[in-house]
């Protein structure tokens, strides 16, 4: 259901097959995330197909009109169902929104009927509730697995000390995702980082939310939330933060300069998407992982591992 195990057609030459769901943020503000995820997937024999017609997942409208959110999510889920492939997202909020809508649609027969009447009337579509939704981090963790990734490591990253940021929608709500891991003490991203040979850094209030959910409503509140995490990570002198959601990235990377200005201090903390880190470990060139697009420069970090972007 929410985050699942490997699923592929029987005759597939791939380790796993998915359609990649980009959402709104990735193609505009996180192309480096997309590039690195596709490169890593290719290297690990994960096929990521594409559906150009995918729209916004529906998350932003959930607070305005719950039913409109369900219809938007159902439209995306239906597009994947037509292809017979599970959805793999890069954005944790997309993953949560699609998985939650899916859960609701699968559990409630009457709701499904009503949604399908509208889907068919308005868009000529149907959704039977068959699509699975997962996140690229779970694909690496569950489908590929630690052993495989560890065995493919080519670059020594043991000089790096990295602070994992889980964000919220990768583990919660457990009513939808199931208890894939303890939401109060998740370990998946730590393990993924350690798999690459890098060290993880623990820090205060590690599970704190980035604040992205209230950015549009109250920027000051959102930035204060993000600042608090940057402070805690800075206190532990990590080389970078590693995360799995483009919206968390907006808070910590795109807004880092703004936070520095308000807080009157300097962080200069590079923010890596986890596939960038995994890609570096697999020996993929920094340029192919979009490292040049990182707003907080990664030059020093790459120097530490004897790499550089062109």
């Amino acid at each position: 259901m929410g985050v699942g195990v490997k699923k592929k057609p029987k005759d597939s030459p791939f380790t796993a097959e998915y359609v990649l769901f980009l959402g709104c943020t990735v193609p505009v503000r996180a192309v480096n995330y997309e590039l690195s995820a596709r490169k890593v997937a290719e290297r690990l024999d994960i096929h990521l197909g594409d559906i150009p017609e995918f729209s916004c997942c529906g998350y932003p409208i959930k607070s305005v009109n719950h039913y409109a959110y369900l219809l938007m999510a159902a439209r995306n889920l239906a597009l994947a169902e037509e292809k017979g492939l599970p959805i793999c997202t890069l954005c944790s909020a997309c993953c949560g929104a699609l998985a939650e809508a899916n859960h609701e649609i699968q559990e409630d027969k009457n709701l499904r009927k009503r949604l399908n009447e509208d889907l068919s009337k308005v868009l000529g579509k149907q959704y039977e509730g068959e699509t699975r939704v997962t996140h690229f981090m779970r694909v690496l963790e569950k489908d590929v697995g630690e052993k495989r990734i560890a065995s493919e490591v080519q670059t020594d990253l043991s000089s790096l000390h990295l602070a994992p940021h889980y964000g919220c929608h990768i583990t919660k709500p457990t009513t939808v995702y199931g208890r894939v891991e303890d939401p109060e003490n998740p370990t998946s991203l730590d393990r993924l980082i350690q798999m690459t040979g890098a060290h993880t850094v623990s820090y205060e209030n590690k599970l704190q939310c980035c604040g992205g959910g209230v950015l549009a409503i109250d920027e000051g509140v959102a930035l204060s939330m993000a600042q608090s995490k940057l402070d805690h990570i800075q206190a532990r002198q990590a080389d970078a933060m590693v995360l799995a959601c483009p919206f968390c990235n907006i808070m910590y990377e795109s807004n880092q300069k703004k936070i520095e200005k308000v807080a009157q201090k300097e962080y200069k903390l590079p923010i890596l998407y986890f596939p960038q880190l995994v890609g570096l470990a697999l020996g993929i060139e920094p340029d192919d992982l979009g490292m040049k697009m990182n707003r907080i420069k990664t030059v020093e970090l790459l120097k530490k591992i004897n790499r550089r972007a062109a």
Partner: protein
């Protein structure tokens, strides 16, 4: 001071009928939600225990017209911890849905509705993005979908019906 005559005792039942609001009456005001809330940590304008209490008491107008119902960041920390399974982030959305129907739509959300209606996405895919994708050999994506506008129009989620919150 709360004026008991101005309270709407049916408000909690109205919320309970809304998707996500079903568990509101389970709340026994323990405050676990507020204690662990990352928004509450940086501002005392948001206090889920207080909002739920106000809603249960029937302070309909104060709750629906407030800005604080929009400050939940949907982190689901309280969702996981609540001993009564009140499902607070979903409950906040249920209250927001009612607020919107009553005419309280924050300007930021109206902008998001406009964008979704125009492009089917929150961020527009301009020629710049499309060209960049080509340069980077990334698959092209549909820059604009009419489907979302069709959905919003069908449900009557049109912006001109809404007023500022």
């Amino acid at each position: 001071m709360i004026d008991s005559k101005a309270l709407d005792p049916k408000f909690k039942l109205e919320i309970a009928k809304e998707p996500g609001g079903e568990h509101i009456t389970r709340c026994f005001s323990c405050g676990t939600c507020t204690a662990g809330c990352p928004v509450r940590e940086v501002t005392d304008r948001y206090n889920p225990r207080k909002i739920i209490r106000m809603a249960i008491l029937g302070m309909k107008k104060e709750v629906l017209s407030s800005q604080f119902i929009w400050l939940c960041s949907s982190c689901y920390t309280c969702f996981e911890r609540c001993p009564q399974d009140v499902r607070i982030p979903e409950l906040m959305n249920a209250i927001r849905n009612i607020a919107v129907r009553e005419g309280y739509l924050p300007p930021a959300m109206r902008i998001q509705l406009d964008l979704l209606s125009s492009f089917g996405r929150l961020l527009e895919i301009t020629e710049f993005e499309s060209d960049k994708r080509k340069d980077l050999h990334l698959p092209s994506i549909e820059a604009k979908t009419e489907d979302i506008k069709k959905i919003l129009d069908h449900l009557g989620c049109r912006r001109e019906e809404k007023t500022e919150g």
